[in-house]
């Protein structure tokens, strides 16, 4: 590699990191070219985040060396990384919500007036200057809590650049973005590399990786499987390298044979947390043996709809019936008891108690029932045995069922939730973003499980922001726009363009009532 553009700005050699019970990185080699976008790919728990945290000084490697610009460096803590020009944007943003964008940007290196007072004007000037220099538009006066996730990510990127980052690590930056925001992020990334920055990009979405990167390094169970040039590879090859076998990127499914309806939603109105209407007169039903997909751009009332169905939010009016029983506004436990399970879209806020062990998390809704407890007394032996069974069955990568759920990799945390919910023998599965943050192998697994459940006569309500996922799984697609169902369509006959138009509110499809065949 004698070409000038392939000078490595960063080299990691033989990086090894042992966690209790897990070898997270096993002699990993990694090199990043100047001005390159290098994707890091691997299954959940393969060790991607660990490798990056070592680079950023959050963990210490047990073995191995890091070279920046060809020089051996020691990175003990993030400050060392920052002064070497390494910046990291974590999946979970480290911003202070009530502070303004400008305040967040200069945090830790605030310009001062008279030694002690924060100099707001020069902070804002600085914010404007940097956002112009990199063509990243922001509003320095806006409070972080009022801006979109995509904007917050921009602030995080600018924060890193402001501290002189030449190497930027983006850990699953697209997992929380809408498709439009992803396009914008990629533009930003290309701009940055043109200015000589180098980027490490982590994602589970193979399309994105093929789209944006120039090289891909694949990790599997802590080991580096190899590095390939992006133009010379394909989704299938990358999937095989990651998982070690062929992966069905779109799971096969037969035609649905729907039975009587399990979930009936009738003229439902729901207010959001600001008491503004979020769901406005939604009616649909989901029958046993079918998957109804709710497609829509994020923030069009999907979360409020799901919360109203699962008892977490009281609807303003309308009716929710499960199996013919009225469950409108009843608390979550009563909803669960009528045969509903719920994979929530925010796994860390709702789905898990991170400080509880994996086993404790596995009984989150069922702890008060036999066999997990009897007369108010928990049976730990049964709980642990059952947890081990689920870990095995759902291939959760964890050293044991007794570690804190928070120590699992992001994707494995999601698997814990999926395992818990799908194992509860439901009649209705409400799955909100069930595969967020999962690797291709795990997505295939979850998709297969959902289809199995459907074929087994369960009703599935799938809410997803991924059009691909909806298209692959749903038997009928309901498009939600500004809190209304603008049409219920057949995935076999609708085109992606039509769906896109409906999601943008530019077109209406057949209405649920007009769709006929809706049993009530």
């Amino acid at each position: 590699m004698g070409k000038p553009q392939s000078v490595p700005v960063l080299e990691m050699r033989g990086i090894t990191k042992q966690f209790p019970g897990v070898l997270a990185n096993d002699h990993v080699d990694f090199r990043l070219n100047k001005g390159g976008i290098h994707a890091l790919l691997g299954e959940n728990g393969a060790g991607k985040t660990t490798l990056m945290k070592i680079l950023y000084g959050l963990y210490q490697a047990d073995e191995g060396t890091v070279l920046v610009d060809g020089k051996d460096v020691s990175i003990q803590e993030p400050n060392d990384a920052i002064s070497l020009g390494i910046g990291m944007v974590h999946q979970h943003f480290m911003l202070i919500p009530p502070f303004t964008v400008a305040e967040n940007l200069v945090l830790g290196a605030e310009p001062r007036k008279h030694g002690i007072f924060m100099d707001m004007e020069s902070a804002i000037a600085k914010a404007n200057e940097i956002s112009e220099a990199y063509g990243l538009a922001i509003d320095p006066h806006a409070k972080v809590m009022d801006i979109s996730v995509g904007m917050q990510q921009r602030v995080e990127i600018l924060k890193a650049l402001l501290r002189g980052a030449e190497i930027l690590v983006l850990d699953e930056p697209t997992a929380v973005l809408t498709p439009q925001e992803v396009v914008e992020l990629f533009e930003i990334m290309r701009n940055l590399t043109e200015q000589g920055k180098s980027i490490i990009f982590i994602s589970h979405k193979l399309k994105e990786v093929l789209d944006i990167s120039d090289h891909v390094t694949v990790l599997r169970r802590g080991k580096s499987i190899g590095t390939v040039a992006t133009p010379e590879t394909s989704q299938q090859e990358l999937a095989r390298m990651m998982v070690g076998r062929d992966v069905e990127l779109v799971v096969e499914k037969g035609p649905a044979s729907p039975d009587e309806s399990i979930l009936d939603v009738d003229a439902l109105h729901v207010l959001d947390h600001r008491q503004l209407p979020a769901v406005r007169g939604v009616s649909f039903s989901v029958r046993a043996g079918e998957i109804l997909g709710i497609a829509g751009v994020d923030g069009n009332g999907q979360s409020e709809l799901v919360e109203a169905i699962t008892g977490m939010r009281r609807p303003a009016s309308g009716r929710v019936m499960i199996n013919g029983c009225d469950v409108t506004g009843v608390p979550p436990r009563q909803v669960f008891e009528s045969g509903v399970v719920h994979i929530p879209s925010d796994r860390q806020r709702h789905g898990l108690i991170l400080d509880f062990t994996v086993a404790e998390n596995m009984i989150l809704q069922t702890y008060y029932k036999a066999p997990f407890s009897r007369r108010g007394e928990l049976d730990w032996e049964t709980i642990h045995t059952e947890a081990r069974r689920l870990i095995e069955q759902f291939d959760v990568r964890t050293p044991s069922e007794k570690v804190a759920a928070g120590s699992l990799s992001g994707g494995n945390q999601q698997k814990v939730i999926v395992a818990r919910e799908l194992s509860r023998e439901p009649e209705l599965i409400v799955a909100a973003q069930p595969t967020r943050g999962l690797d291709v192998g795990a997505i295939e697994f979850v998709h297969r499980k959902l289809i199995e459940a459907r074929d087994d006569g369960k009703a599935v309500l799938l809410v997803s922001l991924e059009l691909d996922e909806i298209m692959a799984l749903a038997d009928r697609i309901a498009v939600i726009y500004e809190g209304e169902i603008v049409g219920i369509v057949d995935p076999d006959t609708v085109t992606e363009e039509e769906l896109g138009l409906m999601m943008a509110g530019a077109m209406r499809g057949p209405q649920p009532k007009a769709a006929g065949g809706e049993s009530r």
Partner: protein, 365 residues
């Protein structure tokens, strides 16, 4: 920290408090050198003050007993994510209730009167705590503000009662009448008038610690309390009634503080003595719970340490002419070091593992 991972890491859990105590003692020694006292003499005096004679030992245990109960009180509330700063007031109403039930009823057999007296203290404490608990659960009013107010209400209410309605008319001092013998706890050595005041209250306190441990880790109600304390949003998602779990934990917390008061009355004082100010058991309980990191068994050890320091400080003053406040400095240093455990961990070789735990919580996706 869950019970399941406890077995493996118990020595690590213990390491920080132990080091903190040693450093706290060292800081106390430095302070003594400043004041011209000899730290070795002082610590010798401290030990002999606590364990030097049977009476001293007995008095130390007497002091430790209510601290165990208030420590448990704070820990239980804390597990539900609540800060029970009101243990002080709950203990006062516990004392009042036990004193009243103890003297007002007569002629009952011990097997009925004693449990009834203790129970009434626990119920009173529980109800006192239920007020802020209810306000928190129902209206979201912050429990700290209410608990503090409830402390003052308890204090002044007790002034009023013991200077009027329940004052013993035969005495000049503001005391309530003595409780019936059938309502007194058994003193291990000698009768009710024994100079060895150590009594079966310590056994009750230890049993309480065991029961609280079992409650938290072996029962569904404890699971709910811990879930609510760690992530109320997830608890709600899971169908746990968050308000009920919070209110329940406050009720239990209050009954533990009430128990402290009951034991004080039934085992030591035999009557309600007018309080000029807060006695501080409730506030020290916060430090005890913190030092024990909320673990009920840890509370037994932490309460003992605080009892020893408090009792021993009087002897230090007497024998080594060390200001009594030195004990306060040691206590404060120990609590500070435990609370800021990162500092202690930074000194120890466990640092890297500890850092890893923290980072694990940070991995948030």
């Amino acid at each position: 920290m869950s019970m399941n991972s406890k077995s493996k890491a118990w020595w690590r859990e213990l390491l920080v408090p132990v080091v903190a105590v040693l450093v706290g003692l060292a800081i106390g020694a430095v302070f003594m050198l400043f004041t011209g006292a000899n730290p070795l003499d002082a610590y010798r005096a401290l030990l002999s003050g606590c364990f030097g004679s049977p009476v001293n030992l007995s008095e130390t245990i007497v002091y430790v007993t209510p601290l165990i109960c208030t420590g448990l009180s704070i820990a239980v509330a804390f597990r539900a994510g609540l800060f029970n700063i009101g243990a002080e007031g709950q203990m006062i109403v516990g004392m009042l209730a036990s004193a009243i039930v103890g003297y007002a009823l007569t002629g009952l057999p011990r097997i009925i009167h004693l449990p009834l007296t203790i129970l009434s203290g626990m119920v009173a404490g529980g109800l006192w705590a239920a007020v802020p608990g209810y306000l928190k659960a129902r209206f979201g009013v912050h429990e700290v503000v209410n608990s503090i107010m409830m402390n003052y209400i308890a204090l002044y209410f007790s002034h009023y009662l013991v200077n009027g309605p329940i004052k013993d008319p035969n005495l000049a001092s503001p005391y309530s009448p003595e409780i019936a013998d059938a309502a007194k706890l058994w003193r291990f050595v000698g009768g009710h008038g024994s100079e060895f005041r150590v009594n079966s209250g310590i056994i009750i306190a230890i049993v309480a610690a065991i029961l609280i441990y079992r409650l938290l880790y072996k029962t569904t109600k404890g699971y709910e309390i811990r879930a609510v304390g760690l992530n109320p949003e997830a608890a709600r998602y899971a169908g746990i009634d968050v308000s009920t779990a919070m209110a329940r934990s406050m009720l239990i917390a209050g009954s533990m503080a009430g128990l402290a008061g009951a034991i004080q009355v039934c085992g030591i004082q035999y009557k309600f003595l007018d309080l000029f100010a807060f006695e501080g058991f409730g506030f020290d309980g916060i430090a005890v719970a913190l030092l024990a990191k909320g673990n009920p068994y840890g509370i037994l050890a932490a309460a003992s340490l605080f009892g020893v320091l408090n009792r021993g400080s009087q002897m230090m003053q007497l024998l080594a002419r060390v200001p009594k406040e030195t004990a306060g400095i040691i206590q404060a240093s120990v609590v500070f070091l435990v609370a800021a455990e990162g500092i202690v961990e930074g000194w120890l070789p466990i640092r890297r593992m500890a850092k890893l735990d923290v980072a694990g919580k940070e991995e948030t996706r």
